[in-house]
Symmetry: C2
Subunit: 344 residues, 2 copies
C-alpha cells in the first residue's frame, strides 16, 4: 500500500510499504476513507533530524474494517469506524476512569510496528477497545466532521473539560489553529458565557466566530493580555484554553486568567521549564490539560455531529489525495491551509 | 504595646511600638490572646537583608475585640475572635466565590501600616468581613486548636480541597511541618482512602499517624518517589499535597502522582521556574493549590474543633511569652520545635 513517511525536516514522502495484516488476535485492519494532517505533525516536519528509516506519519483517520483478529468483539468487516489518535483497550482502570491516554495496554500510531494514519490502511491494535462504529455510509457528507472525533474536536473538548468550562464560565482561547477553533466549539457546546478567541488570521477567527467566539483579539503577548483584561473589567477570564504549545502562549494564558482560574493546555509544549513561582501561588492559578483521551469523548460528541448541531469538519479547508500529502504539509506549515483532509 | 519586628536574617526583636487604634470605620482593634510563628516566617528570618525600619511579624492570631469602627457590624467589645491570615471584606465577588485571598479590598498583616500578629494587639482592617466570633471563653483549652483556623489548618484544608481529595482518593503529603500535618488531618477529614506522609522527623510523623497518615515514607527525592510507587502498585497516588515549597518538593510530587492526578501546593515557592513540559502534558498532571483563603473555610472547620472531632492544635509543641519570641524563631529554624505558640 501507499503511506506517508517523514525522513527529516521538510522531507515527507508517500511510498510503497507492506500491506498491514492482522498480527495479534486483538488487531483489526482498517482501510482508510479519510485521514488528515495535524498541527502536531508540523513539529517534526519542521525540525526532525534526517533519519534513513523514516517515520510513518498520521494518527487521525476513519475508515472501513477490512479484517479482524479472533478476539475482536463487536466489529466486523464493512463497519465504518473512527479511530481515536491513541489506541487503548478501553477496559483497564485508566480507561474506565476516562484516561485512555494512559491505557495500560495502549499506544500510538506510526511507531512500534504500527502504521501511521496517513496511508491506505492501518493495523489497529486493541481494535475492540479503540475503534468506534459510525452509523453512516462510506460516502457520507459527515465524514470530515466525524474525522475530527479522532483528535482535533476531542482535544479541544478535553481542553475545555479539564478547564471546567460551564455555563457561568468566561473563556479565553489562545490559538486560531484547528485545535483552538475546536476548543471554541467545545466551550460553546458546554455553555460558556463568553469566549474570547486570540488569533490574527481573519479567515480563521471568522470561523471561530461561527463556532461561538464572542470576541476576537488579534494582539499577542502583553498587548493581547491587556485586551483580555479590558474586556473583562480588568480581571481576566475564569479559564484559558491554551492551544498552541509555546512558552509565550503559557505566559499569555497566565496573564489572561482570572485569580483562582485555570489554564488548560493541549498543545505539545515546546519548552521544558516555565514560570510557576510565587505569583501563580498567590493568585491560586491552576495549570492543567494534557494529551486528550479522545476515546473517552466520542460517544458524547458523536450525536451532536450526526444531528448537525455542530460542524467541526469546517476546520478542513483543503482536501488532497494521498500523493499530494507532501504539498499538504507544505501548505499547512506555510499557513496557506488551516487543516488538510486526506482522501486516499 | 510590645510587638515582634524582624530587622534582617536572624535578627528578630520584641519592641515597644505605638498602640493600635481604630483608623477607618471598618477597623477593629483586637487584643491578642494567642499568636504563633509560621513556617513561612522562617523564609525572611533566614534570608531578609538588614532593614533599618524592620518588618512587623506574625499573621496568625486570635483574641478579644477591644474597639470597633462605626461600620463594623456584628462584632463588639469582648467578643473572642479568630483572624484569618489575610484580611478581606467577605462581600466582593472574589470573597463570595470563596477566594478571599484575592479580595478586592483585602490585604495582609505587618505591612501598609497594619500590625503584625506577634504582638499584644492588632488593628484589623475590614473587621466585619475578616474576624469570626468564637463561642468560647478567653481561657478555653481549645484556643490552640482554634488558632490553627487562622492559617495552618485552613491551609492544609485548602491544599486538600484544591487537589480534590475525597473518599476514593489516595494522597501523598510532602512535608512533616505543621502545614503538612494539617494537610494529613484535612485529607483524613475529607475521607481520603490512603494517606502517605513523606517526612523523616519521627516525632512529627508519629503525630501525622495520629492525624490519619496510613503510611510514612522517610526517604526523599527519587528514593521517596520509588517508595510511593512501591506502595501504590507502581502508579503513584491520585493527589499529592506539596507542603514544603522547594523545587525538589514539586519534582517529588510530580514523580509521586498518578497519571491524570493533581499536585496541589501551598508552600511558598522558593523557585521561579519549574519543569512543566512534555511529560506533564502526556501524563495529564494538574498543578494547583495556592495561598489559602482561610476565611472561606472557618465556618466549615470550626464545629469539628468545638466538638473535639479534630485536634489540630497538637501541632504546637512549644509555648512562649512575647519576650521569648526570638528564641521561638531560633527553635523552629533549628527544627527543635515544630510550631511555636505565643502567649502575649
Amino acid at each position: 500500500m501507499r503511506a506517508t513517511i517523514l525522513y527529516g525536516a521538510g522531507d515527507v514522502r508517500v511510498e510503497d510499504v507492506p500491506d498491514p495484516k492482522v498480527q495479534e488476535p486483538t488487531d483489526a485492519v482498517v482501510r482508510v476513507l479519510r485521514s488528515c494532517i495535524c498541527g502536531s505533525d508540523l513539529w517534526p516536519y519542521g525540525s526532525m533530524p534526517a533519519a534513513p528509516q523514516g517515520r510513518p506519519m498520521g494518527h487521525e483517520f476513519l475508515g472501513v474494517v477490512e479484517d479482524t483478529g479472533r478476539d475482536v468483539a463487536g466489529l466486523r468487516r464493512g463497519d465504518v469506524v473512527v479511530a481515536p489518535f491513541l489506541w487503548a483497550d478501553n477496559t483497564c482502570d485508566f480507561c474506565t476512569q476516562g484516561l485512555h491516554s494512559s491505557c495500560r495496554h495502549g499506544g500510538g500510531y506510526g511507531r512500534d510496528g504500527v502504521d501511521g494514519g496517513q496511508g491506505e490502511a492501518v493495523r489497529v491494535p486493541q481494535a475492540a477497545g479503540t475503534l468506534v462504529r459510525l452509523p453512516v455510509a462510506e460516502d457520507s457528507a459527515l465524514l470530515p466532521s466525524l474525522l475530527t472525533l479522532s483528535d482535533v474536536l476531542s482535544t479541544g473538548h478535553h481542553c475545555a473539560v479539564r478547564a471546567g468550562v460551564g455555563p457561568r464560565t468566561t473563556v479565553t482561547v489562545i490559538g486560531d489553529g484547528a485545535v483552538g477553533l475546536s476548543a471554541v466549539l467545545a466551550a460553546r457546546r458546554l455553555g460558556a458565557e463568553r469566549i474570547l478567541l486570540m488569533g490574527r488570521h481573519t479567515d480563521r477567527t471568522d470561523l471561530g466566530r461561527d463556532f461561538g467566539a464572542t470576541d476576537v483579539i488579534a494582539e499577542r503577548g502583553a498587548e493581547g493580555v491587556e485586551r483580555v483584561r479590558e474586556l473583562t473589567r480588568g480581571d481576566g477570564t475564569h479559564t484559558v484554553l491554551e492551544c498552541v504549545g509555546t512558552l509565550q502562549a503559557w505566559e499569555t494564558g497566565f496573564g489572561a486568567v482570572r485569580d483562582g482560574g485555570v489554564v488548560s493546555r493541549v498543545g505539545v509544549p515546546q519548552y521544558a521549564q516555565g514560570p510557576i513561582g510565587f505569583e501563580m501561588l498567590m493568585r491560586n492559578i491552576t495549570l492543567t490539560g494534557g494529551v486528550a483521551p479522545a476515546r473517552a469523548y466520542i460517544e458524547e460528541l458523536l450525536p451532536d455531529i450526526l444531528d448537525g448541531t455542530i460542524e467541526p469538519g469546517r476546520v478542513f479547508d483543503r482536501t488532497v489525495g494521498l500523493d499530494e500529502v507532501p504539498d499538504g504539509y507544505r501548505a499547512m506549515a506555510a499557513r496557506e491551509a488551516l487543516k488538510v483532509l486526506v482522501r486516499p
